[in-house]
């Protein structure tokens, strides 16, 4: 592992991490998805757990400023205020008006908030017919501001208007080319092609917007270019593809031809600003940290990460390091000058 990952004319530089394990406020609870605006405002989907439920969307900046959190409870479908909105909050996306969309994989619903976190509405009817949703997992917007939704339980990909009107869909269960098994994450490239993490088949598939299979990335395993239940996927301006290789605890980077380029295993050598607050308030934690001989090696690694987002305006990769309650941020550097090798 290295802070600067250099390969094939590309450079990814570890920038920083943000977050800490926390049930509220300045911290995350099993962050599974993240999205960024071009101004560097982040919305983080916190799955949390059943024992201390704190499912919510956190709003903060890439510079570690906490802004707010929302989505814990609301008047879903016009009901009373005390209803928990999400059961299995999975994906998060932002439209051109900066309204925030969260998907619920159990309820098969999409809930929408304005950028201040005010609950707006929920749509989604559970089922297998076109326009119905069965397991709303990863979500993302296309250039026309339509929402693409992964349906994990029936292995379908569907496109909706922002208001939930069904536009198109494709996909079926299976392990053949073009088929999927409990797909999870989704992202679109600059041409509108659709990339889906085929979780159960341990691969990523690329489709045209109409659903024609174009390419397959990876295969089941632990070796070069292989994947073990991938969850998140995103694409940068060059068409390089980032896949969160969940059970191998890494991010695999492929080129646009599906050739593996390199891997990120986590580089959080630093403590985040919010993390420092925890340490400042708990001197025994600092004492204990200072007794750990391989502190940095332990701290830096991803722990079963699930989500990722590439901020194409700022060339930033953001990885949701789920079981460490933090995000790790990398910058793709186009001006990197490699130093003399034999320094």
């Amino acid at each position: 592992m290295a802070l600067n990952t250099i390969v094939a004319g590309r450079a990814w530089l570890y920038s920083h991490n943000l977050g800490r394990n926390a049930q509220a406020g300045m911290g995350f609870s099993q962050p599974v998805g993240v999205v960024s605006t071009k101004e560097g405002v982040l919305y983080v989907a916190n799955r949390s757990g059943e024992q201390n439920p704190s499912t919510r969307i956190s709003k903060c900046t890439i510079d570690q400023e906490f802004i707010s959190e929302f989505g814990r409870k609301g008047p879903v479908y016009g009901g009373n205020d005390n209803v928990q909105i999400f059961t299995w909050l999975t994906g998060v996306a932002v439209d051109k008006d900066e309204n925030v969309y969260g998907s619920d994989e159990w309820k098969s619903q999409i809930s929408i908030f304005d950028k201040e976190g005010e609950y707006l509405r929920t749509w989604g009817e559970k089922g297998d017919d076109p326009g119905q949703i069965n397991g709303a997992a990863g979500i993302c917007f296309d250039a026309d501001d339509n929402l693409w939704v992964v349906n994990s339980f029936n292995s379908r990909i569907q496109k909706f208007t922002k208001d939930g009107q069904y536009l198109s869909g494709f996909g079926e269960k299976g392990d053949l080319e073009g088929q999927m098994e409990m797909p999870s994450g989704i992202s679109l490239d600059a041409e509108g092609n659709v990339y889906v993490t085929d979780w159960g088949n341990s691969r990523v598939q690329k489709f045209t917007p109409e659903g024609q299979h174009l390419l397959t990335f990876g295969h089941a395993g632990t070796g070069a270019g292989s994947l073990n239940h991938p969850t998140g996927v995103c694409i940068d301006n060059d068409g390089d593809v980032y896949v969160v290789d969940w059970m191998n605890e890494r991010v695999v980077i492929y080129d646009k031809e599906a050739r593996p380029l390199t891997y990120l295993y986590g580089d959080a050598v630093d403590v985040s600003d919010w993390g420092k607050m925890s340490l400042d308030a708990n001197p025994d934690m600092v004492k204990r940290r200072n007794q750990v001989s391989d502190m940095v090696d332990q701290q830096r690694k991803f722990r079963m990460p699930m989500g990722c987002f590439f901020d194409r305006d700022n060339n930033r990769l953001i990885v949701a390091d789920t079981n460490r309650g933090r995000l790790q941020v990398y910058v793709k550097d186009y001006n990197y000058q490699d130093p003399q090798f034999n320094l």
């Binding site: 800490r20 394990n21 911290g27 609870s29 099993q30 599974v32 799955r47 949390s48 757990g49 059943e50 024992q51 201390n52 059961t87 299995w88 994989e105 159990w106 999870s184 979780w199 239940h229 969850t231 969940w246 059970m247 959080a268 403590v271 985040s272 919010w274 993390g275 420092k276 925890s278 340490l279 708990n282 025994d284 934690m285 204990r288 940290r289 007794q291 750990v292 001989s293 502190m295 332990q298 701290q299 722990r303 079963m304 699930m306 789920t322 079981n323 460490r324 309650g325 933090r326």
Partner: protein, 466 residues
């Protein structure tokens, strides 16, 4: 034997070596043959999944590192019990959890408890000697029994004592000097410092041997002298006749039939000395490997004849019922509850009451725990919409069951070939008679009646035995 006798015997095997099996599975296994099934339980094909870990963690990522939260850890393990395709691997882990009882109450770290259970899955059917080495190096055990406080200049005897008293030979087979010498041999066996829980959650512990903290002076343990280290102590312990008897009696108690409680083993004879002797001989002849003992045991007449001669542990009640009704085959919301159900019946898995583990047999039953057992089973078998119940009721319908006698017999059969005594059966039949024969023209009502009969069977004394 009739085909039903074969099914009943297979049901017994699958209850003891696992957590039960559906009728379809039983039919398939009977066709496979009893001894072949025993072999498959002992050495399952590699391609079979231990448990649906990936599925569970996808939807419950907090179950990976539950930290001090026992409920998430307990749900994690219970889900492995009901979703595993290698049932004996999970059952032997439950067995060793009972013997090498380690608890979250002190650890405040369910991650490490789950790591210990994983170790039991990996080593539990292999060499007992290797298992003792592994448990001696297990961070949860080291912290539980203070071996991280066992130093060259300040010996702590907690681990050394329990190794001899509860994990190998049993009381009366060693002296206080042996405890002291064994403890000295394990000085320096400790845990490496790990990152604390803040700010990024739990990090794993790892075993560390600190040579500079190890007492390398001469020691005399059970008559053998030298510069003994922990492995030497284990070598000596394993070869003691008392150890073979102690471990085999534990195996008999867990898999075959209820024995008296462990503390009375020095004064109470074994329930079946002949069977115990055969197990001990197999253990010793096979270099203290667990698998050959289980093979001999499962294929023995004393095992086959021991149906319903042990009271099901709470974990067995919960896992067996969930498997039967096929609830939570998918890790749906609400799964947290399944981990704590055994606690209501007196067995908080991952958190035994002490290093002695749980008292078993009749001590599983008291007025509170019995009510919890009965209610848990009744709530599920009376729910005719659960997938496993739908299958059972469809089978009973297909069998043409109609009269009250047929209803009771069919219900008992599909709940694991429960052997009701005559009086119990008659009471159930009399109860069923109050509503007459089954009327399948109203299918939902007929199935509801059967579910209610099954709930009543779940409340019988007989059903508490497995």
């Amino acid at each position: 034997m009739s085909h039903k006798d074969d099914l009943a015997l297979m049901s017994h095997l699958m209850r003891r070596a696992g957590f039960g099996a559906s009728r379809d599975e039983l039919e398939q296994k009977v066709a496979q043959g009893y001894e072949a099934v025993v072999e498959e339980l002992l050495s399952p094909p590699e391609e079979l999944e231990s448990g649906k870990m990936a599925l569970m963690l996808r939807y419950h990522p907090s179950f990976l590192l539950p930290g001090g939260n026992p409920l998430s850890g307990q749900a994690n393990w219970m889900y492995q019990m009901i979703s595993t395709q290698k049932p004996l691997e999970e059952k032997i882990a439950l067995f060793w959890h009972q013997v090498f009882a380690t608890g979250n109450s002190k650890l405040d770290n369910c991650d490490q408890m789950l790591e210990q259970i994983k170790m039991f899955r990996q080593y539990g059917l292999g060499s007992y000697k290797e298992l003792l080495v592994q448990i001696s190096k297990n961070p949860a055990m080291i912290f539980w029994l203070d071996n991280n406080e066992n130093h060259r200049e300040a010996v702590n005897e907690n681990w050394g004592r329990e190794l001899l008293e509860l994990f190998s030979m049993g009381v009366s087979n060693y002296t206080e000097v042996d405890v002291r010498e064994a403890s000295r041999a394990f000085t320096g066996w400790t845990i490496r410092a790990k990152l604390p829980r803040q700010p990024y959650g739990r990090y794993p512990w790892h075993f560390e041997y600190r040579e500079e903290d190890h007492d390398d002076g001469d020691k005399t343990f059970l008559g053998e002298s030298g510069n003994l280290n922990g492995e030497d102590i284990i070598d000596i312990v394993v070869q003691q006749p008392a150890t073979a008897r102690f471990i085999c009696r534990h195996l008999y108690n867990f898999f075959v039939a209820d024995e008296p409680q462990v503390p009375s083993w020095t004064i109470e004879p074994a329930r079946d000395e002949e069977a115990l002797d055969a197990m001990i001989a197999t253990f010793e002849e096979n270099n203290y490997e667990i698998k050959p003992v289980l093979r001999m045991m499962f294929n023995s007449e004393f095992f086959k004849n021991a149906r319903f001669s042990k009271i099901k542990s709470p974990a067995e009640v919960v896992a067996g019922t969930l498997k039967m009704v096929e609830e939570f085959q998918f890790p749906e919301p609400g799964i947290l509850q399944i981990g704590k159900e055994p606690s209501y019946m007196g067995q908080a898995i991952l958190d035994p009451p002490s290093v002695e583990g749980w008292h078993t047999g009749t001590e599983w039953i008291n007025s509170g725990s019995l009510l919890a057992r009965v209610n848990f089973v009744a709530d599920r078998v009376a729910n005719t919409e659960l997938p496993g119940m739908r299958k059972i009721l469809d089978l009973i319908q297909a069998e043409g069951v109609k009269t009250p006698e047929q209803m009771v017999d069919a219900a008992a059969e599909h709940m694991g070939f429960v052997e009701l005594n005559q009086e119990t059966r008659q009471q159930l039949v009399d109860n069923a008679k109050s509503d007459g024969d089954l009327d399948w023209s109203n299918e939902a009502a007929a199935k509801q009646r059967l579910g209610e009969i099954m709930a009543l069977i779940g409340a019988t004394t007989e059903y508490q035995f497995g």
